[in-house]
């Protein structure tokens, strides 16, 4: 009992989200009869307050107090959770603002969408904190089930429904495989606690059997981060879902998936080997498994992105490629890799959500997601073109922008770990990626539009959102020091030091 009460005080951001969730559900019911506009404004207001509250409290909690386990060793409140919490809150805030401006969600009641958004945000935090096999499965499924509904939110739209069905079928199969793997792991170790798993694995060599179990579990985690070969849902779901939901899926669950990946492999399957390095236990070479995943994911994502004509599909493959880059950092087997992933995600949040913001704003005027429809944008709106240019150069990893910093962290970690060949594969992939990002820009700047070309108008919200997302991308290098200090916390995993 006292443990639960004590844990609650370290649980403030999640509690705020839950409170906001309760208020949103009740307010949604009470305002059913009110006109759509006033009800939507009220509900988004409540959600925004809840998310901002969670952001502020999670920022204050960052680095304050010793790392400790919560709720009878179900969750860990340590540096990794501390760094990931603000990432989730920021993602949800941007997605909330995007869903107010999206043409697809106009005239749709947003009450349930906002309730789901709050649920998923809290569940993402549980994912990032879980140190128990039950908790890993439970939080992962909470995120999944809520996002299935978000993808199918436009219930009269065929593509949205189709995307949702594909998502839930792929999701259920991969989490089912993961669950089977977890049950076998439980049989091998007789415990559900990650530290217990590590202790039991350290006592013997399990070899190929353990590797088989790990492949099954990697299916569930790979599904969440959209790593090849568990990525088949990704392009279809990203295309069919309402664009704000697509933007959310490309950042939120992916980040949480990496948090679980770090916890599961770095805590449950490895022990500290001194100097921040870790050594795998149990006689299964999971470093090789992750390296294979990283190489396949990067290469497939980048090559497939070259062939796309729909911008949402292109960004889907680009997000797969980014997952591959982050997987490279996960192969490092030291705290440096953890920091690289945290820093990459913090920057990826701004560049990827930025690109989706431009896509949503462009869709308001063109009504299309085809890249060809962006022709002549340079004349219609230089502002939007420049913003898109910044986001795309950042995604490419071109030096003055923040994306370069993200890549720098990953490649430095990989090279320091002596995995030179992996870094070479990564650099080649980054070169391929430049082609398809530049393709979008080429259409925007050089191609002439054939039809009438009205200039684009923006509301103040649009401009605010663009500024919010552009500034971190442009000034990324100035904030290098503070980013370094913040992501430093991500290394203080409970017990891993």
């Amino acid at each position: 009992m006292s443990d639960a009460l004590q844990s609650l005080s370290r649980f403030l951001p999640e509690l705020i989200l839950m409170a906001a969730l309760a208020v949103v559900i009740v307010a949604d019911l009470l305002t059913q009869r009110r006109p759509l506009k006033s009800s939507t404004d009220l509900l988004t207001g409540i959600t925004l307050v809840g998310l901002l509250g969670a952001l502020v409290t999670s920022w204050q909690a960052l680095g304050a107090g010793e790392a400790q386990s919560l709720f009878a060793s179900m969750l860990a409140d340590d540096g990794l959770l501390g760094v990931f919490r603000p990432i989730f809150c920021l993602t949800s805030i941007v997605v909330l603002l995007l869903s107010m401006r999206s043409k697809e969600l106009e005239g749709v009641r947003l009450g349930e969408m906002l309730a789901l958004l709050l649920t998923v945000t809290a569940a993402l935090m549980w994912m990032a904190g879980s140190i128990n096999l039950v908790m890993i499965y439970l939080s992962l499924e909470t995120v999944s089930v809520a996002s299935y509904i978000m993808v199918g939110y436009l219930s009269s739209d065929r593509l949205s429904n189709e995307a949702s069905l594909k998502y839930i079928l792929f999701g259920a199969v991969s989490t089912g495989a993961m669950l089977f793997g977890l049950s076998l792991l439980y049989g091998m170790t007789a415990t559900l606690d990650l530290y217990g798993v590590r202790a039991a694995l350290a006592e013997g060599a399990f070899g190929p059997g353990l590797l088989f179990v790990l492949v099954l579990i990697a299916a569930g985690i790979g599904f969440k981060i959209a790593a090849a070969p568990f990525h088949f849902w990704c392009p279809d779901v990203y295309t069919g879902a309402p664009t704000p939901v697509t933007a959310f899926l490309s950042v939120g669950p992916k980040a949480a998936g990496f948090a679980i990946l770090i916890r599961f492999f770095y805590l449950g399957l490895a022990e500290p080997a001194g100097g921040g390095a870790i050594a795998p236990v149990g006689g299964a070479d999971w470093q090789m498994l992750l390296m294979m995943l990283a190489v396949i994911t990067m290469t497939l994502g980048n090559v497939a992105a070259l062939l796309q004509t729909n911008v949402k599909r292109l960004l889907a493959y680009s997000s797969i490629a980014h997952a591959g880059t982050m997987l490279m950092a996960a192969c490092v087997l030291s705290v440096e890799g953890v920091q690289a992933i945290a820093a990459y995600l913090a920057i990826y949040l701004f560049m990827n959500l930025g690109a989706f913001t431009v896509v949503i704003l462009a869709h308001r005027v063109t009504g299309s997601f085809e890249i060809d429809s962006y022709a002549g944008f340079w004349k219609r709106s230089p502002l939007l073109t420049v913003a898109m240019g910044i986001f795309l150069f950042s995604l490419m990893g071109i030096p003055p922008f923040a994306g370069f910093l993200a890549k720098w962290y990953v490649f430095a970690a990989v090279i320091n770990a002596g995995l030179g060949w992996l870094a070479v594969v990564g650099v080649l992939n980054a070169a391929v990626a430049a082609f398809y990002y530049v393709k979008i820009l080429r259409v925007m700047v050089i191609d002439e539009e054939t039809g009438p070309t009205p200039a684009l108008a923006f509301s103040r919200l649009d401009l605010g959102l663009l500024v919010l997302l552009v500034v971190p991308n442009v000034l990324g290098l100035l904030f290098w020091g503070s980013l370094d200090r913040v992501t430093e916390y991500s290394q203080t995993l409970l017990e891993l030091g």
């Binding site: 439970l138 499924e141 079928l169």
Partner: protein, 101 residues
């Protein structure tokens, strides 16, 4: 007493059947039924290990949670299938292929 291996054979068979069903069935509802097989194969594992390993009750709790989650997931999946049926007039997965490329 039935030895542990027998439970594991059954669960492995169920898991394989489930995966086979997911890969071969074209009707969305059939695929969902195959997915239930996968979940329940894991449940058998969890409960069997929990019964045979001294002092490990966690597996039974885990299995209960899995049943709850599987029910939620089935509810959501069937709602989505219904919604898709209203738009598409059937639930054949081969025809739900407008998103491709």
């Amino acid at each position: 007493m039935i030895p542990l291996e027998h439970y594991l054979y059954i669960s492995a068979a169920l898991f394989s059947l489930g995966v086979f069903g997911v890969l071969t069935r074209r009707n969305a509802v059939n695929v969902l039924m195959s997915i239930e097989l996968i979940f329940n194969s894991a449940n058998i594992n969890l409960v069997a290990f929990s019964r045979f390993v001294e002092g490990a009750l966690g597996g039974q709790v885990f299995a209960l949670l899995v049943i709850v989650i599987a029910a939620c997931e089935a509810a959501v999946a069937l709602a989505i299938v219904m919604s898709l049926y209203r738009v598409m007039k059937n639930v054949n997965l081969d025809e739900a292929a407008e998103l491709k490329g």
